[in-house]
């Protein structure tokens, strides 16, 4: 396979204001190749995909398709050039039937049907309204719709996520054959198992730049993890925290004890403990079930199985107020979820005080003022614009969401990516606050998408992959390579000469090498 590349993008850059989403990305895909695109959260995968498919425009860079320079201005232009994406979210219009959806995109019906059968759905009624079709099937239909127009380059974003095993297998098989037929596939996935089974080469992105292109062969996953981490590969070790000892001393029963938690297909058999005085980190790639875990603990959704114990007593939450009653507070990563933007800082902080029916009466304003002020002082919230929370900066807004639970004296705080998109100074303050809380025998469950935060804040970290807890590290072992490996579902331990690739499918690497 020494032909000219089918798709060749070089020097692609994209800025959003001052933030560089892509600096210098390149991607070269040969005809007949299944090419993996990899990178940690925020490395720029989705930005690159959106640029290639015309959803957004690059600030700089060159995209050649079959050697011709192309200005992909719109999804339609990308389609004409033979580039077709299948995104994670189903793209059929819910209120139309399948047939109308096909007409909308000018997809030929017979090839579509053939592909649908091929993909393991023998009995599809194309008159069915898309809304009534289960999610997994919709994703397969999206794929079939893309395949039906015979694109030169098919772009699959986490295609097998949320698919049951039998469908996923069919999908992978079809994608593999797509490569054999001389067409190319760009395959985005967090799963090394799939990548090894399917892909010929991989392009690795880090911080908006392409840092390497590798052939997929046994043992390569170590190298890919290294590339995704970059210079951060040095193992930074921190000492075990003193707070961990407090937790151990307190001993007897954990503050929060989760056993075999089950939530549809999103969470599987999740078990862990959270002790008083402990900050437990949760690290995971996007969409591995962490959202559902936090929602279940916060009482927003009901788990389908398993148990949650608080201070040794089993609980069943049917509303967030149940969790709050048990002293468990949830701080979402998206501030707009938690704040009444048109109301004052004071009202936002004091909101939980009025929630219960018996607290609907007159507010004791002076006492409230004292409690709110002390929370504001503790988090050093800038109150110059306190009349409306929406006038505050992002960092200060986030502080308000936390201050609310400091004021309410919650014993356990579930922090979901609470430092997302706020300035470095505020982040430091939040880290410090969380450690202080732990020092006061409170407990924190801290999900983060930034690995370095784990060592700054946590005593322990659990790693979730595909809805399961795949590993638990004490903080002194939770360096970035270890976390990254675990987050991608790779086994712990020193780098083995034989990686999981060899275990899974020896044949594929031979093909890739040829």
């Amino acid at each position: 396979m020494t032909n000219n590349p089918l798709l060749d993008a070089t020097g692609v850059a994209k800025n959003y204001g001052a933030v560089a989403a892509l600096r210098n990305a390149s991607l070269s895909v040969l005809p007949g190749e299944v090419h993996a695109l990899m990178g940690a959260n925020g490395a720029g995968k989705s930005t690159l995909v959106k640029i290639l498919t015309g959803a957004i425009r690059a600030d700089a860079g060159r995209i050649l398709i079959r050697g011709e320079q192309l200005d992909v201005r719109s999804p339609a232009a990308a389609r004409r050039a033979g580039l077709l994406p299948v995104y994670q979210e189903p793209s059929l219009i819910p209120d139309l039937d399948v047939l109308s959806n096909l007409r909308l995109t000018g997809t030929p019906v017979e090839p579509f049907r053939a592909w649908v059968r091929e993909l393991g759905i023998p009995d599809l009624d194309i008159r069915e309204t898309a809304r009534h079709i289960p999610l997994a099937i919709l994703r397969v239909l999206d794929l079939a719709r893309a395949l039906a127009v015979e694109p030169d380059v098919l772009l699959l974003d986490e295609m097998t996520a949320a698919l049951p095993a039998n469908l996923a297998e069919k999908v992978l098989e079809v994608v593999r054959r797509q490569g054999d037929a001389g067409r190319s596939v760009i395959f985005i996935s967090h799963r090394f198992v799939e990548i090894s089974a399917l892909c010929d080469r991989a392009t690795v992105l880090r911080d908006g730049s392409t840092v390497g292109v590798v052939d997929i062969q046994p043992g390569i996953e170590e190298k890919i993890v290294e590339m995704m981490l970059g210079t951060r590969i040095e193992k930074t070790r921190v000492a075990a925290r003193a707070a961990g000892d407090v937790a151990a001393a307190d001993g007897s029963r954990p503050r929060l004890s989760v056993r075999n938690l089950q939530l549809g297909t999103k969470l599987n058999d999740v078990s862990f403990d959270l002790a008083n005085g402990e900050v437990v980190g949760v690290f995971a790639l996007e969409g591995q079930g962490q959202d559902e875990l936090f929602a279940a603990l916060a009482g927003s959704i009901r788990p389908t199985g398993g148990t949650i114990d608080v201070d040794g007593a089993p609980v069943k939450f049917s509303h967030p107020s149940d969790a709050i009653q048990a002293g468990i507070a949830y701080v979402p990563g998206d501030r707009t979820e938690a704040l009444a933007m048109q109301r004052s800082v004071r009202e936002n902080i004091a909101l939980p005080f009025s929630a219960a029916l018996r607290k609907w009466g007159p507010i004791r304003m002076r006492r409230e003022q004292v409690v709110v002020s002390s929370a504001i002082a503790r988090l050093q919230i800038d109150t110059r614009a306190q009349g409306e929370v929406q006038r505050l900066s992002g960092g200060n807004q986030q502080k308000v969401t936390i201050a609310r639970w400091i004021a309410a004296n919650a014993r356990t705080i579930l922090c979901f990516d609470a430092t997302r998109g706020i300035d470095v100074g505020t982040k430091q303050e939040i880290y410090k606050l969380l450690r202080e809380l732990a020092g006061q025998a409170k407990s924190v469950l801290f999900y983060t998408s930034e690995m370095e935060e784990v060592q700054r804040v946590c005593d322990r970290v659990i790693v979730i992959f595909g809805g399961r807890v795949v590993d638990t590290f004490p903080v002194e072992q939770a360096d970035e390579p270890a976390l990254m490996r675990a987050a991608y579902g790779l086994p712990r331990g020193a780098r083995a000469d034989v990686g999981i690739l060899a275990e899974v499918k020896p044949g594929s690497s031979a093909e890739a090498a040829s």
Binding site: E337, A340, E347, W360
Partner: protein, 328 residues
């Protein structure tokens, strides 16, 4: 993100005025009210006197209380279109039951449909998530139907307006209309509830961001059910006051007040999308509408022309007001 609070000091006068207005949204409303009164005085010199003031207050008060219902429901992003029917039902039942019943019993009977309709509204909106517009419109129609059925049963006994309601509706004490004895406590109670009670806080919070309220432990259905019951009770009391003022029980007594009550709340600066507003503005809004009606009446235009002009003015005033107080 530009932090408004940290803006450099030298700002233009217009900008400063705008900030001033935005922080005190009542002031432009009061200015508008004064302008309307001045226009009235210019068109009809001498019309603005003590009697006119008392009269305006008398007619503005029922509107203002119903607009209070709208203010509270609109703060949660809702609306209560059943207030007209509820007021009419209370008034009609009171006027017919007083003939044979003890006044206290008649009062309780009169308030019963108010509580029921409020409860049904609240459960429909809060539990079954029916859109408030549809829910309250539906219960309003049902209520009107029941009232027609009820009318048949009491047709023989006739109706009378209790003396007390007469006194409350039209009486004047030391130049002040007696209706103020009802209105002032009600207004104080509404303002206090909205600003100084947990329930009031929750109305704003639920309307601003229901999800955030939920995450803070607020149970939406409780707030909404309580809200619509309170709204209906206020509407029922308004009906009693209004029958004392109008003195002619009919099946569509308070119906003409429904849409003006929405308009008064909107003019008063309460956002129909929820989370923003207050009752003081609504009171001024009700006064503005009442004065405007007087103004249009003395212009001696035909009824159709008056309505057209009324509609345009309401639209214009609301748009202008939002432009003045919106801070972006």
């Amino acid at each position: 993100m530009t932090d408004i609070a940290t803006m450099p000091q030298p700002v233009s006068f217009g900008r400063r005025l705008k900030r001033f207005m935005a922080d005190r949204p009542l002031i432009p409303l009061i200015i508008l009210l004064v302008i309307l009164v001045v226009i009235l005085q210019i068109l009809r010199p001498g019309i603005v006197n003590e009697r006119w003031l008392a009269n305006t207050a008398k007619f503005a008060i029922p509107l203002a209380i119903l607009a209070g219902c709208q203010t509270m429901t609109m703060l949660t992003g809702g609306i209560d279109l059943s207030v007209g029917t509820v007021a009419t039902m209370s008034a009609f039942i009171m006027a017919t039951q007083i003939v044979n019943q003890d006044p206290a019993v008649a009062f309780l009977l009169a308030m019963l449909p108010a509580v029921l309709i409020g409860l049904v509204n609240g459960i429909g909106v809060g539990v079954f998530r029916v859109h408030p517009l549809i829910m309250t419109l539906g219960t309003s129609l049902i209520g009107t139907g029941f009232l027609q059925v009820y009318q048949r049963t009491v047709i023989a006994s006739g109706a009378k307006i209790p003396d007390f309601l007469n006194w409350l509706g039209t009486g004047v004490t030391y130049g002040f209309p007696n209706a103020l004895f009802l209105f002032v406590p009600v207004a104080v109670l509404i303002v206090f509830t909205l600003n100084r009670t947990g329930f009031g806080r929750l109305l704003y919070a639920v309307g601003d961001n229901e999800h955030a309220a939920r995450l803070s432990g607020v149970r939406y259905w409780q707030v909404i059910t309580a809200l619509y019951i309170v709204s209906s009770l206020l509407a029922g009391i308004t009906g009693l006051l209004y029958i004392g003022l109008i003195k002619a029980p009919s099946l569509s007594l308070a119906e003409p007040l429904v849409l003006p009550s929405v308009a008064a709340a909107v003019i008063g600066g309460t956002s129909i999308f929820g989370g923003r507003g207050g009752y003081m503005g609504t009171i001024v809004g009700a006064l503005i509408l009442t004065v405007l009606t007087t103004l249009l009446t003395i212009l001696q235009m035909p009824e159709g022309g008056r309505r057209i002009l009324f509609g345009f003015i309401v639209l214009f005033v609301t748009a202008a007001y939002l432009r003045i107080v919106e801070d972006r």
